[in-house]
């Protein structure tokens, strides 16, 4: 037994022992140490055959070039968006389990229910957005367009299902993302052999679909309802290290896989009309290309929209900042899935969201957010219970409000909203917007209330409150006490670790002044809200501004005065825009002033500061004491600002040269000159150039007053250029740039100003040939011969030599000099290396390398260009770059989108390029899918998926004839490409598409009907069908016939004069001229005479029109649970079936049994004359067959006498003998002749030989003679020469 268990000995293949052995073996063979067989035995590797060598070289080159892709500019951002991982598979295959396992593997958190995309940090440089894809074909199509990686789950116990193949085909059409197969249910196999076989079978089938060698992952079995940890870990490793190739569509279009949706509609509008169009905001990572504000987007399943606003938010699931460590710590393993109710703490424009990290996340982190989360985690009662029990004081002396009070006040949220809330388990910002339209008081109140609600729901507004507290003055502390107490109440419910939290926060806040400042900004934005409420004006813009300021607190300088000033300026701006009675001009003035602010006197600045401080002091009290104090303060504030504005205006007026103050006449004189001057001034004032062009400036400039400028940016859209624009609205449209104030080019100094623009002028140092040469001399002039150790000095000018000497002298004294010398030496070395590289690498570079290098250079430039600018400014230039977390506002969204919102269905926002929102005729190359059972019929409505869109349209199929004519086809060919044309959205050429008959329900067969590619886009189209016009001859002359029945009037005939016609029997002809009667008849000439029974026809081509039918598939608008039941226009066949209308068949088209009559042929009659002329062979043999010869005509047989017989026999014998004799004689003669001929031939040969020899001799002699002659002649020539 034991011997069986022993392992067999395995020979060592590596390690010192193996090496030693190998060496010994080689020594035994007396081969020395040479291991390389090529060196050891060069003969064996010598070139045997040049042809084979050439072939193998060719082959390697082929393989090498096959690997090349067209180089593209790498436009991936530095911080790429999360990779979209689509987990796809038929139902019950284990998709959700896999996602849960993966999330747990990466983040150590467990998500119970997964709705919508889940974003996680999977590594130091990679994030994943995992999303599940069901079997609804709509979802499959949409997700295939945004997927970077597809995890294709296959139930091994069942095998492949149709959905898998459908999804693969969808992927193929819309650019092939990376696909990885995952086999599940492998534990259902009893026998190992069967398992192996199945794996192999499935693997090979998978390979044929994807590519040979595609990765297929095996999940062997479940443990406690989850996949095995090790396997999931391995799968996760595969995903994190995977590389992706850019897909054309995805890289050229921006897109967002939304992970959050908010309804921003005015509740009042919803109340009055529940079906009103909604305004929603959607959140998600921007992917693909840059997205610009106000651009067109398409939401698959909803429709086309214009982006009404877009802003970027801090990344909710950011990558770890420092990358020192090998792996992520627990805090950095973030997960973000708002639709599933998971995410970090998230501030945004109009709400604050909190989410709970894992139960053991952030353990060693001590920070306000962390504590908050901890406190929330450790609460015991449910949110609902807390909601019910919570009390809140609005004002210090009012009675606390409970949730029931709120309900009583009729501030109930819309029902569908509530549903959503319950699902996501988060407090939505709905409540804040809920009272916007009511009076400012309630707004204020509501703000407070919502804050408290959130506070109690475990949101982080509480934190904001706390931070506010930190900034409060003593006065405020009293007011705060109430709140503090209330907080403590709350804390009593929770664990006892809270005191630490409560204590620490103040200290923390005090220590981090910056954050406090940020909070200030927040406060100010809050105030703006309230003021806007006062004015009764919608203040979305102001809110936007406020939040922007709030969002980028880090950007703010810590300098207090500066900041406060900027805040003040901003507030002024906000108020002027909000108060409503401020005109554009005023706004203008203030904006202008902002630049000039810096030039204000110091006193003014001081006073300003004072004001700000005062305001700052008043602010907290306003917030705390609420309603009563609020208005007064506000009035104060507004008056302050008005004062300020007035001051500014005054200032401006002073500044402006008497434009407004002086009389009208004065004002009018030489206006154009002034304008010109102004323009020139503007031209010269360089920093204002961008402002001049684009109006406002959003970015922080290098100018001294840049800060204030930024605060004003984005608020005022009315600007000077517009005003100017009106002046010159009707002036001359000319592109020439006329010289307003020409220089006097006769002056020497003016001439000198452009002296260096010419080659004759002075050159820059790096381009001046003489200088460059000198420099090179210096660098390369002296070198050291390494072999001999000699040092060669280059020629150096007298002054450089002097310098050298000086330097040497100095070197002894100055150690710094040594450093510089060292640097110089390094520089020299580098330059030499460059030279060497250039010399030796240049030859190798191919066209491909050059192209690649060019692309790389461009990519570097793209990266570097805007790197140093902050995001606010960058966004203006580039658009929002991929990788940003953005919030997009969209207006006029159908209410069903919100009402029937189902987080399980992905919401994709696909950006559209220019004029991709337009419609036109699209022509494409199409092929019916080989697995689709039917062929497709022209004019049957069908659903296409092209670009981002899914839509139903009516295509016409056509085929292109050899002459370029596009001929209509009734049906698509079975196994061939054909053209298809439809009226629909314009999509760039080269985009792939697929067609399906219906997206509703489950069809038994393969659903993808056709695939292809877009070829052409146009606004008109020419597809023709054949039309045969028939007519009948009614009068026939020789080759001319009169034909009727083809046309109805002479006019029609006139149109077709000269057209080619033909008879069915093949006689060709031409239409000549119309006849007077009957109407529509014409004269035609043919190549032969017609018969009255002939049918004449003309082949014409009739253009067909394409129905302008474009119906986007609005599957996302269907009610929850019915989203896969969208059905559009039905085909004629379906309608007939539904209504029981049978097709009326053409009677002629019906098949009948064929009855064939017996054919009778007449006997052939040949005219007598012809018969006579025919040769005998062909003559009809009319003679009757010889009958029986009558007996009397028959000759009798001869019977000979014996004697006669004897004679006859003798004669016979004699003749035989004679003939024999003759034959013999002939033979003999023949033989003799032959002999004679042979002898003769021999003789002849001998003679020839003799002659030949003779001739040979003769020629030799002749040749010798000739040579002699030649020699002599040469000699003679030489002699002559001599």
């Amino acid at each position: 037994m034991e011997t069986k268990d022993q392992k067999k000995h395995r020979k060592k293949n590596s390690g010192p022992k193996a090496e030693k052995k190998k060496r010994r073996h080689l020594q035994d063979l007396q081969l020395g140490d040479e291991e390389d067989a090529r060196k050891r035995n060069p003969k064996a590797f010598a070139v045997q055959s040049a042809v084979r060598m050439a072939r193998s070289f060719h082959r390697t080159q082929d393989l090498k070039t096959k690997k090349h892709h067209i180089p593209v500019v790498d436009r991936t951002p530095l911080e790429p968006p999360p990779i979209v991982v689509v987990v796809m598979g038929p139902p019950k295959v284990g998709k959700s389990t896999l996602i849960q396992c993966l999330i747990r593997n990466f983040t150590r958190q467990k998500l119970t229910e997964i709705r919508g995309p889940v974003t996680i940090v999977s590594g130091k440089k990679r994030r994943l957005t995992i999303i599940e894809c069901g079997c609804d074909i709509n979802v499959m199509i949409d997700l295939a367009k945004v997927a970077d990686l597809v995890l294709m789950l296959i139930d091994a116990s069942f095998g492949f299902e149709m959905e898998t193949f459908e999804f693969l085909n969808i992927c193929q059409v819309h650019g092939f993302p990376k696909i990885m197969g995952v086999l599940t249910h492998l534990d259902s196999f009893k026998h190992n052999k069967q398992l192996k076989k199945t794996k192999k079978r499935l693997k090979h089938r998978f390979w044929t679909e994807v590519y040979p060698g595609a990765k297929l992952f095996y999940l062997s079995g479940m443990v406690h309802g989850e996949y095995q940890n090790q396997e999931i870990h391995n799968l996760g490793r595969f995903i994190t290290v995977m590389k992706f190739r850019p897909l054309t569509w995805q890289t050229s279009h921006p897109y967002i896989l939304a992970d959050r949706m908010e309804d921003l509609t005015n509740p009042e509008d919803i109340r009055t009309n529940i079906r009103c169009d909604r305004k929603v905001s959607l959140y998600g990572y921007l992917r693909g290309a840059h997205l610009k504000n106000k651009s067109q987007i398409h939401m698959p399943g909803v429709g086309d929209f214009a982006v009404s606003d877009i802003s970027f938010l801090p990344d909710p699931c950011a990558l770890p900042e420092q990358q020192k460590k090998r792996c992520l710590n627990e805090k950095e393993k973030l997960v973000y899935a708002p639709l599933s109710g998971v995410g970090g703490v998230l501030y945004d424009k109009d709400a604050v969201y909190v989410d709970l990290g894992g139960s053991h996340g952030f353990q060693d982190e001590v920070g306000p957010t962390h504590e908050l989360v901890q406190s929330l985690i450790s609460t015991y009662s449910t949110i609902d219970a807390k909601m019910a029990s919570s009390r809140m004081t609005l004002f210090s002396d009012s009675k606390p409000l409970g949730s029931e009070d709120i309900d009583n006040q009729g501030l109930l949220m819309p029902k569908e909203e509530k549903q959503m809330d319950l699902k996501t388990g988060r407090m939505r910002r709905k409540a804040i917007f809920g009272d916007e339209d009511e009076s400012g008081d309630s707004d204020e109140e509501d703000d407070e209330m919502s804050e408290d609600d959130e506070l109690e729901n475990g949101s982080s507004d509480e934190e904001a409150e706390e931070e506010e507290n930190a900034e409060m003055t003593d006065q405020y502390m009293a007011g705060k006490g109430v709140k503090r107490r209330k907080l403590e109440e709350l804390e009593e419910d929770s664990e006892m670790d809270l005191p630490a939290f409560a204590d620490s926060d103040d200290d923390l806040e005090r220590s981090s002044a910056e954050e406090g400042e940020a909070e200030e900004a927040d406060e100010s934005s809050e105030e703006e809200d309230s003021t806007a409420g006062e004015g009764g004006i919608s203040e979305s813009k102001a809110v936007g501004e406020g939040s922007k300021a709030g969002l980028s607190p880090a950007n703010r300088q810590s300098d207090h005065v500066n900041l406060e000033k900027s805040l003040l300026m901003k507030k002024a701006a906000v108020l002027t825009s909000d108060s409503g009675h401020c005109t554009a001009e005023e706004a203008f003035a203030s904006e202008d002033e902002s630049e000039e602010n810096s030039s204000l006197s110091a006193e003014e600045e001081d006073s300003e500061n004072e004001k700000t401080i005062r305001k700052k002091l008043s602010k907290p009290s306003q917030v705390s004491s609420g309603q009563k104090l609020g208005p007064r303060n506000l009035i104060d504030e507004t008056s302050d600002i008005e004062d300020l504005l007035k001051e500014e205006e005054d200032y401006k007026e002073e500044n402006n040269d008497s434009k407004e103050t002086s009389g009208a006449l004065k004002w009018k004189e030489d206006l154009s000159r002034k304008a010109a001057e102004a323009f020139l001034r503007q031209q010269q004032a360089a920093p204002n150039l961008r402002k001049l062009i684009y109006g406002t400036v959003a970015e922080d400039n290098e100018e001294e007053d840049g800060d204030t400028r930024e605060e004003l940016g984005g608020l005022f859209r009315v600007n000077q250029p517009d005003r100017e624009c009106k002046h010159k609205a009707d002036s001359l449209d000319c592109s020439r740039f006329l010289v307003e104030a020409p220089h006097d080019w006769d002056l020497e100094e003016v001439m000198n100003s452009i002296r260096d623009c010419f080659v004759t002028g002075k050159w820059e140092d790096d381009k001046d040939a003489a200088k460059v040469l000198a420099e090179d001399e210096e660098l390369y002039g002296d070198f050291e011969d390494l072999e001999t150790g000699d040092v060669h000095k280059g020629k150096s000018g007298p002054d450089t030599q002097n310098e050298h000497i000086e330097k040497e002298l100095k070197e002894e004294i100055d150690p710094n000099e040594e450093e510089s010398a060292k640097k110089k030496h390094l520089d020299k070395k580098r330059k030499l290396k460059e030279m060497f590289d250039a010399e030796y690498d240049e030859g190798e570079s191919t066209y491909f390398d050059d192209l690649k290098g060019e692309m790389q250079k461009q990519a570097q430039l793209n990266r570097a260009e805007f790197e140093d600018q902050d995001d606010e400014a960058r966004v203006q230039y580039e658009g929002f770059r991929p990788g940003m977390y953005v919030r997009i506002e969209i207006e006029n969204v159908p209410c069903e989108f919100v009402q029937n919102f189902d987080p399980h269905y992905p919401i994709i926002l696909g950006g559209l390029g220019n004029s991709e929102g337009n419609v036109g005729y699209v022509q494409m190359r199409l092929k019916k899918h080989r697995w689709y059972k039917k062929i497709l019929k022209s004019r049957d409505p069908i659903i296409f998926s092209v670009g981002w869109r899914r839509f139903q349209t009516i295509p016409l199929y056509y085929i292109e004839d050899h002459n370029g004519r596009q001929r209509l086809l009734k049906y698509t060919p079975q196994h061939m490409h054909c053209g298809a044309a439809f009226w629909g959205p314009i999509t760039p050429q080269g985009t792939g598409f697929l067609a399906i008959q219906s997206v509703s329900g489950v069809m038994p067969d393969f659903r993808i009907a056709a695939t292809g590619v877009v070829l052409d886009l146009d606004k008109s189209i020419k597809i023709v069908k054949k039309l045969k016009l028939t007519g009948f001859p009614y009068k026939i002359f020789k080759n001319t016939s009169f034909i009727k029945g083809m046309f109805n009037s002479a006019l029609e005939v006139a149109k077709f004069e000269g057209a080619v016609i033909r008879t069915v029997s093949g006689i060709r002809g031409q239409i000549k001229k119309a006849l007077r009667a009957p109407e529509g008849a014409f004269r035609a000439s043919f190549e032969d005479k017609l018969l009255m029974s002939d049918i004449v026809f003309m082949r014409t081509w009739y253009p067909v029109s394409i129905p302008a039918f474009y119906n986007p598939v609005t599957s996302l608008l269907k009610p929850v649970g019915e989203k896969d039941t969208w059905s559009g226009m039905r085909t004629t066949g379906q309608l007939r079936l539904a209504h029981g209308v049978r097709l009326k068949a053409n009677k002629d088209s019906l098949y009948k049994p064929i009855l064939r009559q017996k054919k009778h042929f007449n006997s052939l009659h040949i005219p007598k004359a012809l018969q006579k002329a025919l040769p005998f062979k062909n003559k009809p043999k009319t003679q009757a067959k010889a009958g029986k010869v009558p007996k009397d005509r028959r000759r009798p047989a001869v019977i000979r006498e014996p004697h006669e017989r004897k004679i006859l026999a003798l004669l016979d014998a004699l003749s035989t003998v004679h003939s024999q004799k003759m034959k013999k004689a002939k033979e003999q003669r023949h033989l003799h002749n032959k002999e004679h001929f042979r002898a003769k031939q021999k003789e002849e040969e001998e003679k020839l030989k003799r002659q030949k020899d003779l001739r040979k001799k003769l020629f030799r002699i002749q040749g010798q003679k000739e040579r002699k002659n030649q020699k002599s002649s040469l000699k003679g020539a030489e002699g002559q020469l001599q």
């Binding site: 500019v73 062009i693 009106k726 009707d730 080019w745 010419f758 760039p988």
Partner: protein, 373 residues
């Protein structure tokens, strides 16, 4: 459809060409109101109508609506079609007026454009055909629009007011454009020019040449000004003469200036010597402004940068002309693109006035008209 929603609206007839060209390229409809609404002679002028007709000829499926008085224009662009086209331009403006817009549109046609334009080749208002040939064509080549069929040929010269000139312009189509980095204007290595005279004494051209050289010789010796005297049927219908000068730099930048004589019967007679001198001074002004692109072609360069792939393009310009400034605003409203504008002060160097460095990221435009074979 959504097309109605993203339509843009403007007032006034100024910058009509820009608006229509950008509308055609971006596919966004445009409505222009109040065209000379307060004028005694309201509505579109002949040359504008002719321009609209030209647009109609080179596009397919455009919808143009003009009201009774011609004060309101609605233009819904179709797809650029191209092909062989002939167009009689209005003699009120030069062919340059039409050609400038065609230069913007021609690379994005379905079929390569081959157009015959008839009208005024050289006038005092618009950039002449000579200048466009010398400056705009090399500029387009920088963007990868090149080939045998890319040419601009002046068959006949026509001066205002009679016109009678003829120009053949042909341009290949491209699917995408290359990004450019034109930051170094180089140094001017030669000056070339064309002094033309039609229906006047051929001696005029020579007089122009001499006077222009007298000024330019102070800067650079490599000057050659061709004289072009057209006769008979090639000389158009009105007399006139003029000069166009082009300075070429070591890095392939072309700067130009031109002047033409007053049209017959309008203004005083111009001495050819004065004209030559003034034109030379204009060229010096242009050199003073500098940049990598001529001041007339600034907008063309910026447009083609905008229509590039999503890569960074840079160009160094002289001071921006009012036309360019308006063009930048239009680019922003049509394509949502903003240029990064950096001023490069001239400093101590003797290289003319301040320069402006314009940087942008292309919008990733691709020619939607071109057929995929």
């Amino acid at each position: 459809m959504a097309t109605q929603a993203n339509s843009l609206s403007y007032a006034g007839c100024n910058f009509l060409r820009q608006r229509l060209v950008l509308s055609t390229l971006s596919g966004r409809p445009v409505k222009i109101r109040k065209i000379r609404a307060r004028d005694d002679n309201p509505g579109l002028r002949d040359f504008e109508a002719s321009f609209i007709r030209l647009l109609d000829k080179i596009t397919n499926g455009s919808r143009i609506e003009i009201n009774q008085t011609g004060t309101t224009l609605y233009y819904q662009p179709g797809l650029l079609y191209g092909g062989s086209v002939e167009h009689d331009c209005s003699v009120l403006r030069g062919i340059g007026y039409y050609l400038e817009s065609l230069l913007c549109l021609a690379p994005f046609m379905k079929h390569p454009l081959k157009i015959v334009l008839r009208g005024v080749t050289n006038d005092q208002v618009d950039p002449s055909v000579d200048v466009l040939k010398a400056t705009a064509l090399p500029l387009l080549k920088q963007f990868g629009i090149d080939g045998e069929s890319f040419e601009l040929k002046i068959v006949r010269r026509g001066m205002p007011p009679g016109g009678g000139g003829e120009v053949v312009f042909s341009c290949p189509v491209r699917k995408v454009l290359k990004p450019i980095q034109l930051t170094d204007p180089g140094k001017i290595k030669r000056v070339r020019g064309m002094a033309y005279s039609v229906r006047v004494s051929p001696q005029m051209a020579n007089r122009i040449v001499d006077s222009a050289r007298s000024i330019l010789n102070k800067f650079i010796p490599d000057i050659y000004i061709y004289t072009d005297h057209m006769k008979g049927v090639n000389s158009g219908k009105s007399p006139g003469f003029g000069l166009s000068l082009v300075a070429e730099t070591t890095s392939g930048t072309f700067l130009s200036a031109e002047l033409a004589s007053n049209p017959q019967g309008q203004g005083e007679a111009v001495l050819p010597e004065d004209l030559g001198r003034n034109c030379a001074r204009l060229l010096l002004e242009e050199i003073y402004r500098g940049g990598c692109v001529d001041s007339t072609n600034q907008s063309l360069a910026l447009l083609l940068m905008t229509l590039g792939q999503q890569d960074v393009s840079k160009v160094l310009l002289g001071p921006l002309s009012p036309y360019t400034i308006e063009f930048l605003r239009h680019l922003k409203s049509f394509f949502q693109i903003m240029f990064k504008i950096e001023t490069k002060p001239c400093g101590e160097e003797l290289k003319g006035g301040d320069k402006v460095l314009m940087t942008c990221v292309g919008i990733g435009f691709s020619n939607l008209s071109k057929t995929l074979k």
